[in-house]
């Protein structure tokens, strides 16, 4: 969830950038997640499109997100190559679990069991 406090002394683009960085770091925004378009996010949060565009540009420069042409902006995989591949695999697994309508608790239990298996 993203939110912008109009009364805050922190600039809106910085509020947005910080929240997105935190969510990428804590994993709530997994690698491969598509971000909303600049226009859509600006309308939802009631801020100027340039503000969102600036936050996206800085996130891209810092390696948190990547732009894939007309397909939009996506969360980049973080860490070393092995960790990046792990994040991409986790994203694919999460998508499949959602597609099948299964619960997150069950999915986590299966992953834990699979990882502990010899």
């Amino acid at each position: 969830m993203l939110t912008i406090s109009p009364g805050s002394s922190v600039a809106p683009f910085e509020q947005l950038r910080t929240q997105l960085v935190e969510q990428v770091r804590d994993g709530s925004l997994a690698a491969g997640t598509r971000l909303p378009t600049v226009r859509r996010l600006a309308e939802d949060l009631g801020i100027a499109p340039n503000t969102v565009a600036r936050a996206y540009r800085e996130l891209e420069a810092d390696g948190f997100i990547e732009t894939r042409g007309r397909n939009g902006s996506f969360v980049s995989a973080q860490g070393d190559p092995a960790e990046q591949q792990g994040q991409v695999a986790a994203r694919a697994f999460a998508d499949r679990i959602k597609q099948l309508g299964l619960s997150a608790d069950d999915a986590l239990a299966w992953v834990t069991a699979a990882l502990r298996a010899p």
Binding site: M1, R34, D44, L45, A104
Partner: protein
């Protein structure tokens, strides 16, 4: 038009008018929101929300006005002779009945789409909340609805092509049975409504969702999910009903004089397969609760809490 068809058209008209009038009554509006909350798996707002009630009332009226217009247009088409039919209609007016009900669903979808695309969402003045990830149609429509509407229309087109081929090769069915023409209109209406529904749902999802709280965003998602489900109901029902109407008419045509016994068996099997598919899809749909699909996709924590708790959970829990 058979007396049965007049009764259906009359019932739809009266029910639409009564429900539209009731949507102005405060008690009914509150009850309607309570009912929707149970259906979509969300907790009611902590305080009564006139904006939410007004939104649901407006959406209900738009859908009802659309269904009323759709029904009236279908009836006018049949009564005026624009849509060719027999007097009395073949097979007790099976195809005509589905055309009238199809008009109802198409109208409902059009009404819901027009409302969703034109309504001005109140913009909160203070803090706003937005989702960090992009959404798409898969987040709002369960596979049974999303793929089912395409499969149903596809099945309708296949049956229509089979019927047209059989009619052209003239297996004792010349002149063409008017029931086939009405069934064909139902299927073609399904194709048009499928294209329109795909475009409309895409446009609806492109619209912004200004929300003052996660709870408001969850309700906006719920409303959106209800709307897109109403929109895809039209192509799904038209495809299925068109296929059945044509299949039943073909069965009837083959039965007369028993011109082509193998064809009769083939068409009967086809109709039974379609009917079995409908029953299976309906059972799966009821069991999988597609009205809460958006909750499982977009608000998994709320969905999990709702699954564990006796009453629907609040989106505030996700903050």
């Amino acid at each position: 038009m058979t007396p049965f068809l007049w009764v259906i058209a009359g019932f739809v008209t009266v029910a639409s008018v009564v429900l539209a009038v009731l949507s102005f009554v405060p008690a009914y509006r509150a009850a309607s929101v309570r009912m929707q909350a149970r259906s979509v798996g969300l907790a009611l707002p902590a305080e009564p929300s006139p904006a939410l009630e007004a939104d649901f009332a407006g959406r209900t009226r738009a859908s009802l006005i659309g269904s009323l217009l759709g029904t009236v247009l279908a009836v006018l088409g049949l009564v005026s002779g624009v849509i060719p039919t027999e007097d009395p209609p073949a097979l007790g007016g099976v195809a005509e009945t589905w055309l009238v009900l199809g008009g109802f669903y198409v109208g409902m979808g059009v009404g819901a789409a027009v409302r969703a695309l034109t309504v001005r969402t109140p913009v909160p003045s203070g803090e706003r909340f937005a989702r960090a990830g992009a959404v798409d149609i898969r987040d709002y429509l369960a596979p049974i609805d999303r793929i089912g509407s395409r499969v149903a229309v596809g099945a309708g087109v296949v049956v229509l092509v089979v019927a047209a081929t059989v009619s052209i090769t003239a297996f004792g069915m010349t002149p063409v049975n008017p029931g086939l023409i009405v069934g064909g209109i139902v299927v073609l209406l399904g194709v048009v409504s499928l294209v329109v529904s795909e475009v409309a749902t895409r446009r609806i999802l492109e619209r912004s969702q200004p929300a003052a709280s996660p709870e408001a965003l969850a309700w906006a998602d719920a409303t959106r999910a209800i709307t897109v489900r109403e929109i895809v109901t039209a192509p799904m029902s038209l495809g299925v009903w068109g296929a059945l109407a044509i299949g039943i008419t073909l069965t009837d045509s083959f039965s007369v004089g028993n011109q082509w016994p193998a064809g009769l068996i083939l068409v009967n099997v086809l109709v039974l397969v379609i009917a079995a598919g409908i029953v299976a899809a309906a059972i799966y749909s009821i069991a999988s609760r597609p009205q809460q699909h958006y909750l499982r996709r977009l608000w998994p924590d709320v969905a999990a809490a709702a699954g564990a708790a006796p009453s629907p959970a609040s989106a505030e829990a996700t903050r």
